[in-house]
Symmetry: C2
Subunit: 326 residues, 2 copies
């Protein structure tokens, strides 16, 4: 009968055993996530859950019968569907990492949008004070309308970051059903994608955060760019194909819009010598809005949260609906 809290807990509770796979991959950050979540790391054959950090192709053909839950490392799980992983394990609950990676991309989006609005590209080129020249170009998001095309994880993570800046936000999604969430105010305006054309006259800045589909290809084209403002910034953190690159280069050259910040491009990678590299009002980040070290830290946080929920028996984050296919 130890008097320390730690040992009493061990005596009174069965600590949930969880494995990490594939074998040989036990990153310290995930070990910590498991213990932070109130569970303990064990080998797969004794585990009630499995945190998987490998690919779909490496996933075991059969799992021990003790395994009730598997956490996958990706937000999109098409590969696991394609390889029949879920069909092979009908009694197991799977969760994805959907939502875990959105915060870093949203932060990157905010950095790019603010850099544009605050005229940082020209500031960074300056080698002389010239305050009067800069004054008229320094803008604000306060009172301005930011249209976020796509209200998935990234868009929903971005909204609470824009609210305290005093921006008016229009969220565009397929259904037009109001975008809601614990950190999303009721006042957010949601517009269905079919009415997107009506939104442009009211839009100051555009964030593209929608999936790449046949419907969204060149969603931002010459017509849309012409309806924006000479003070408008376009930020694309989704996929390059959503923006018509040639039309964008023309709009940036002509000053139809103030500038564009692209974490994704078409073509991607953007080839050396492409006009976007030299346009003074284009900012390119090479699809690095969620680099490996931030992705991994975010995954570890997601695992810790889901382990906590698994231990407590409450609903897990990002359950995969194997019937619906996502």
């Amino acid at each position: 009968m130890s008097e320390t809290g730690e040992e009493v807990r061990t005596v009174n509770q069965t600590v949930v055993p969880i494995a990490i796979g594939p074998t040989g991959h036990t990153p310290a950050m995930l070990e910590k996530a498991i213990s932070d979540g109130g569970a303990k790391l064990v080998d797969l054959d004794a585990a009630r859950a499995l945190i998987w950090v490998g690919s779909a192709a490496e996933f075991p053909q059969r799992l021990p019968e003790t395994v009730e839950w598997v956490q996958l490392p990706a937000a999109g799980v098409e590969d696991w569907f394609a390889l029949g992983v879920f069909d092979r394990h009908p009694g197991v609950r799977f969760t994805s990492a959907a939502g875990a990676f959105a915060a870093s991309v949203a932060e990157h989006t905010l950095a790019l949008l603010l850099a544009g609005v605050r005229y940082l590209p020209e500031h960074l080129r300056a080698t002389s004070w010239r305050q009067q020249d800069f004054f008229p170009h320094v803008g604000t998001l306060r009172g301005k309308t930011v249209t976020i095309v796509g209200a998935g994880g990234i868009g929903r993570a971005l909204i609470p970051m824009l609210v305290p800046l005093g921006a008016h936000i229009i969220a565009v999604n397929r259904s037009g059903r109001p975008v809601t969430g614990p950190d999303i105010p009721d006042t957010i305006e949601t517009v269905p994608a079919e009415h997107l054309a009506k939104v442009w006259p009211r839009t100051d800045h555009v964030v593209v955060a929608a999936p790449a589909t046949a419907d969204t290809r060149h969603l931002i084209d010459a017509d849309v760019l012409a309806r924006l403002r000479p003070s408008s910034w376009l930020v694309n953190v989704a996929r390059g194909s959503l923006v018509d690159t040639d039309a964008l280069v023309t709009a940036l050259t002509d000053g139809t819009i103030a500038g564009a910040a692209l974490d994704v491009t078409d073509p991607e990678p953007l080839p050396d010598g492409h006009p976007l590299w030299s346009l003074p009002n284009a900012m390119i980040t090479p699809h690095d809005s969620n680099p490996p070290q931030l992705r991994f830290a975010a995954f570890a946080d997601h695992v810790a949260e889901n382990v906590t929920r698994f231990v407590a028996g409450t609903p897990l984050l990002a359950p995969i609906d194997t019937d619906r296919g996502y």
Copy 2:
């Protein structure tokens, strides 16, 4: 008996008469602020309140007895004290513009801090994709500690902008009394300035937003810079004298910290050819975080709010305490 709502309101209510001075200055934005606030613009001799957009030296020697309230255009009102304006009008309530201009500076601060953390200066110089080179340098504010030295208007406006990014915030003020406000969470850590030295080992990034006094001169010196991290960004939006420029140049050259973003410099204006212009990890904005057009719009918003309060008989924003001297 008109049937329009507008005229019925005129008949049923005495609309509060407010003047703008000096004579000849009636910017449309302020006229709108007065009518948005539920009052009407009149000449000074018929006014119950005066919105003053001139200097302290131009202020009238005597005001009509009808004037109960005067809104001044500045946040700091030392000149009005020095010229005895308040003493000449003992029965009149004065309000300053304190608080009205902080939001734009806070937004600028956030833009600079995020640009640093997301490695934008190097991104903007790039003319090639080089994704793998960029990956390790892209940081996040999530889980990082931002120390805000000075919890006046700017610091308090910045806190709610940093919270949704997942930063831990340490606010440093003179008293150490917890920083509070309608948009400031209870969880914000406040540290008195006398314990500043204890804060550096826990600090990832520093925002300087304190007044320039004898005590704060070179508050950021070689010793402090040495206690920060190779990943730390320093943002100064207060006054140039708070940072030891020579020590900063050395720290930026040596990589002691990741970078510095300065809206204020010492000397200011920063002379052509100064090393800060050419250091790749220095961002200079020429004291333009609150340019005239944003300042004026913010003042108009402040006036509209105070007119609304005056009409409703509720407490005004930024009352000047003529006994205390601010």
